[in-house]
């Protein structure tokens, strides 16, 4: 059985995703055993010529958000070339941090003109950033900023190994939705559109003890050195683990850093911001309107906090910022 032809591309982003893929360590051997990497500009400086011969690409891992014309073209081109397109990382999946630019009012068709007068010419930045699904249909998602190796590994096994993987019962499978882990185990493709992450929220895998949710005062990160082992939210820190898709295993909260939501909203949630607002404020320790408004007054930049990685694709009000989403081209 021929190796799967794999492309890995990073649009606007920090390339942490590429590094995360490299971070597979020993599994890289197995990976390259299944995959023929035909296009990985970040690692090998491949140029687009590589894709000139119109041989199909089996799996394309697309990292980074769509913030420039180039990004958009890359997205369209790779969509056309790839049988399976994977949005890899928070930027590609939800627009990521660059998506926060959408909070600034602007004309979506407008382009920054800075590129003319600088050298080397900067890419022409779109005034509205989107994630990959804002431009083209996406087959699979691997969330996270960056995605963790276990999840990437599960993804590779599912999409790249083509059933050749000898170690299907991957340690990461445990945290995946049943549908995916069974697919991985059976060596078949998981349901179209699946996300390679858990279906509960981070709280489920967070090691901190939850006692009573009663929110009496907000602390900003620098104001409080949280007690070890106690739920961060219950100590007054905004932790988005409540409504954020699990899969990371509570890495941040374990070391005392509140969850910032890089896995996007949890399975059944309509809008993460609304849910965070509801979950936190419902437990306000306030019987009078006065107290409640005082407590609310301490919160700043809710949009930037609750949609830090997801504004472009998951905020009920602002999502879908991209001008023309191209549904014409579709992966097989």
């Amino acid at each position: 059985m021929p190796k799967r032809r794999v492309a890995i591309y990073s649009a606007t982003g920090c390339s942490a995703c590429d590094n995360s893929i490299l971070g597979l360590h020993y599994q890289v051997g197995a990976f390259t055993g299944w995959a023929e990497i035909v296009f990985w500009p970040y690692l090998r400086g491949d140029s687009w010529q590589v894709l000139e011969d119109d041989r199909q690409i089996d799996v394309c891992f697309f990292c980074g958000s769509i913030a420039t014309e180039e990004d958009r073209h890359a997205a369209l081109r790779l969509r056309a070339a790839a049988r399976v397109l994977v949005a890899c990382g928070a930027c590609a999946a939800f627009g990521g941090l660059p998506g926060l630019v959408n909070l600034i009012p602007a004309d979506p068709t407008e382009m920054s003109t800075s590129s003319q007068d600088t050298w080397p010419p900067l890419p022409r930045a779109k005034s509205r950033v989107s994630g990959l699904p804002g431009i083209v249909p996406v087959d699979y998602f691997v969330p996270g900023c960056p995605p963790t190796q276990p999840l990437l590994w599960a993804c590779f096994q599912a999409l790249v190994s083509g059933g050749e993987s000898q170690i299907r019962a991957s340690f990461s499978a445990a945290r995946l939705p049943e549908a995916i882990s069974t697919a991985v185990a059976a060596g078949v493709l998981p349901p179209h559109g699946s996300t390679f992450a858990g279906e509960k929220a981070v709280c489920a895998s967070c090691c901190r003890a939850k006692e009573e949710k009663k929110f009496s005062r907000l602390y900003r990160g620098h104001e409080l050195d949280p007690d070890a082992g106690r739920c961060l939210l219950e100590q007054g820190l905004i932790c988005q683990g409540l409504a954020t898709r699990e899969g990371c295993g509570g890495l941040c909260t374990a070391v005392g850093v509140p969850c910032r939501g890089c896995f996007g909203k949890a399975e059944a949630v309509y809008d993460a911001g609304a849910k965070m607002v509801s979950a936190i404020s419902s437990t306000f320790d306030a019987a009078e309107a006065g107290q409640a408004s005082e407590m609310a007054a301490r919160f700043v930049d809710l949009a930037g906090t609750f949609y830090r990685y997801t504004l472009a694709e998951q905020c009920a009000l602002l999502a879908g910022a991209s001008e023309e989403r191209n549904d014409a081209i579709h992966g097989s």
Binding site: D107, D271, A274, S281, A286, A316, L317
Partner: protein, 151 residues
């Protein structure tokens, strides 16, 4: 051009405010046709998500009405609604929804007239404010965006 007719979604609690709306009807208190009622058991049942959903689906304003504090049929559901309203207001403002477009009111079953007044004055207020265009930041009118139904 014809004047702008705002669409206002009202979530009314089953025990106080919905009854008040009925009472207003029985008393034939004329109201603007702009408010469309969704009946819920309790104002505490209204998920802030519903409010965002309404705006995302093209509402120009949202009203939540429940029993007065202390009269809640479910003891304290309305208190939870009260607590949420403040933080929700902040989120909405961040997303470019003006304060006037979201309201939480206490309307007791006996306050039919008050319900009618709230409906009418809110309609007028939103008329002046103009249509809501989901966008971002402070100047929504500059945006050409059209909103998606699903998040």
């Amino acid at each position: 051009m014809t004047q702008f007719e705002p669409k206002i979604v009202a979530f009314l609690c089953n025990w106080c405010s919905y009854v008040a709306a009925d009472a207003a009807g029985v008393a034939r208190l004329v109201q603007r046709p702009n408010v469309r009622v969704i009946r819920v058991f309790c104002s505490g049942m209204v998920d802030p998500g519903y409010v965002l959903k309404a705006f995302a689906s093209g509402a120009d304003a949202v009203l939540i009405a429940g029993c007065h504090p202390g009269d809640c049929h479910y003891i304290s559901g309305n208190i939870k609604a009260m607590r949420r309203s403040f933080l929700l207001h902040k989120l909405l403002t961040d997303l470019g929804v003006e304060k006037e477009r979201f309201r939480l009111e206490w309307i007791a079953a006996s306050e039919g007239p008050r319900y009618a007044t709230v409906v009418n004055e809110m309609t007028e207020q939103i008329r002046k404010l103009g249509p809501f265009r989901p966008a971002s930041g402070s100047k929504p009118e500059r945006s050409e965006l059209t909103c998606r139904k699903e998040g």
